[in-house]
Amino acid sequence: MDNIENVELIVVGGGPAGLSAALAASDYGIKVVLAEEREFLGGQLIKQTHRFFGSEKEYAGTRGIDILKRLIEDVKNREDIKILASSRVLGIYEDNVVTILNNNKMKKYIPQAIILATGASEKFLAFENNDLPGVFGAGAVQTLMNVYGVLPAKKILMVGSGNIGLIVSYQLLQAGVSVAAVIEAAPKIGGYSVHASKLKRLGIPILTSHTIKKAVGNKKVEGAIICELDNNWQEIKDTEEFIECDAICLSVGLTPLIDLLKQRKVKTVYVSELGGYIPLRDENMETSIMNLFVAGDVSGIEEATAAMIEGQISGLTVAKRINKNQKEEIQRKIEEAKKELVLLRSGPVGEKIRKGLSKIGLNHGENYDESILKEEFDISYLMKTGVPSKENLESKFPKDKKIFDKGPIAISECFQKFPCDPCVKSCPFNAISENGNINNIPYVDFEKCTGCRICVSKCPGLAMFVVHKNYTETSSLITMPYEFLPRPKKGELVNVYDRDGKIICEGKVIKILDSSFQDKTAAVSVEVPKEHFLEARNFKVRYLKHE
C-alpha cells in the first residue's frame, strides 16, 4: 500500500473553525493537511460582510470577510499547512484511512488525528408549495448577494428572526432589495435585540408569533400567506394574511453536518438546543472515537467566535498529544481558550448552549457567576417588537438630565446581555464599561465621555449614538451610524426616523465621518429640531427607497 500517505493531522473544512484548528496545531510544529470541499477557503465567513460580535481577542468588531483575510493569509504563510482546495473528503474508514478526492484522484491518507470542522446545513421548512422557485435558504441568498453580486429578488419575506434572518434582512436592504416583513413563529425574536432594532428603525415589520402557511404563485413565488399562532403554536383562526413578495427566504436554523462522523460511527445524540443531531464529545472536542475531533458548528450550532475558539482547543489538543515538547505551554493555552469559551457562553443568551452542552455531559455551568445569568431588566417588549421600552431607555440615559447640557455625549442603546465588547474597547477615554464581564450591558460614563464619536462606527450592533442636545438654541445634533449607499452629502436634507421606523422630522446633514477608520460604517451627524433629540435614531437619504 505504497500509495497511502501518513500524515500527522487532517483538518476537514476551511471555515473559521478549521482554519483556527490548523493554525493552532501548526503553531506547535504539527504538519497539517487542510481539506476544503470548495475551491476557496473561508466557509461561511466569505459572505459575512457585517461586523462580528464577541470579544475583541477573537476579532469582534471586525467584518467577517476581513477576519477571513487574516486567517487565510496566516494559513498560507505556514509551511506546515498543506492546503487541499476543491478536495472533498469522501470517506473516513474504520481502519483510519481517509480518502480525499483531489484533482480527479482519490488519495488515501492515514492521519494520527483528524479534526472535523464541516460546519452545518440549513434546515428546511414544510409548508404548502415550498418547492416553488423563489423559496430560498437564507444562506443561499447571502451567497448570491455577497459572494456573487446577484440580487435574489425585489421583495422578500424573511421567515425566521434568528441572527441569520435579521442580518440577512439588513444586508438585503443594503443591496436595495425590499423586505416585506420578518416573521417568527416563536413569541419572541430569536436573534440579538440590536440586530432587530436596526431593522425596526428602517421600518421593517417584525411579526412574532407568525408563521408561513403557503407560498403563492404559479410558476414562481408571487406572495405568501402567513398567519398568527397562539401560545401553543396553533394557528389562530381568521388571521391569514397575504404578503406580496417575489421570494421567500427561510432562516429557520442550522443543523450540524455530521455525515462524515456517521460514516466513522461516532456516537451522536439529538440535542434540539444545539441544532439537531450532534456528536458526543468531551471538553477537548474529542469524539467517541479516539483522535477524532470536532470543532465549530458540526459540534453544535453556535457563533463563529465560539467556532474559532473550539478550533484552537482541538488543534492544541492534537499538538499536545503528538508533540513531545512544550506540553505545559500548550496546556496553558488550552485552559485559556476554555475560559474564553465559558465567558462567551456565560450570559442569558448563552443559556440555550449551556443547556444543550449539559445534555451531553459537559457541565459548563459550574463556574457561572449567578449575577450575570439574569437579564438586568425586563426586555420582553424589546424582544417582541425590536423597540426598547421607555423604562429600558431611561436606564441608559443620564439620570441627571442636566448632563445633556454639557455637550455631546454617547448614548448606548444596547439592552441585552450578550457577549460583545467592541464599544468598550473602542473608546479612547475609557468611558464605556461592562464591569469586567463581556456579557454585561455597557454603560457610558458621561463624565468621561468627550463625544468624540469613535464608538458610533465601532459598535457592530449600531447601538451607539452621540447626542448633542444644545447644538443651537433650537436644534440638536444626533450622530448616527449609517451603512447604506449612496452616502448623504454635507448640507443635504434627509428624512429622520424614530426607533419604530416612523418618520418624525426633517434633518440636515452637518458632518460625515467616513474614512477608512470608520470602515464603511459612517458616523453621520444630523441636525434635528430640539424636541426630537431623544427620538431621532435613523435617517434615510431622500432619493433612496428602502420600501
Binding site: 473528503v89 469522501l90 484522484k105 404548502e128
Partner: protein, 95 residues
C-alpha cells in the same frame, strides 16, 4: 393544508402526504422510509428531509425525537466516478 403540496424531500420530490402514508403503514424509521420512498437518496443525502421526517415519525408514533435515529451514512460522501477511483491506482492497472 394540502399535504400533497408540501415537499419534504426536494431531491426526490417526496411529499408530506407520502411520508405520512408510509409512517401509517408501519415504516417508522428514517432508514425504512428511505428504502421505500427514496427520501434522502438524492444529491443532498437527506440534509433537507432528515429532520422533517424525524419530526413526523415522532409526532405520529409518539416516540420522543431523541430516540429516532438518522439514516445510515456510508462512504463515499458525495458522488464519485469510477475513473476517479482508478486514477489513483494509475499505471498499475491494465487497461
Amino acid at each position: 393544508m394540502s399535504e400533497e403540496k408540501i415537499i419534504i424531500c426536494r431531491c426526490e420530490d417526496i411529499t408530506l402526504e407520502e411520508v405520512r402514508e408510509a409512517i401509517k403503514n408501519g415504516f417508522t424509521t428514517i432508514e425504512e422510509i428511505k428504502r421505500i420512498l427514496r427520501t434522502g437518496m438524492g444529491p443532498c443525502q437527506g440534509k433537507s428531509c432528515g429532520l422533517l421526517i424525524a419530526r413526523e415519525i415522532s409526532q405520529i408514533t409518539g416516540t420522543p425525537i431523541e430516540e429516532i435515529e438518522l439514516q445510515n451514512i456510508r462512504p463515499p460522501y458525495g458522488g464519485i466516478l469510477f475513473k476517479e477511483i482508478l486514477n489513483n491506482v494509475g499505471d498499475k492497472i491494465e487497461k
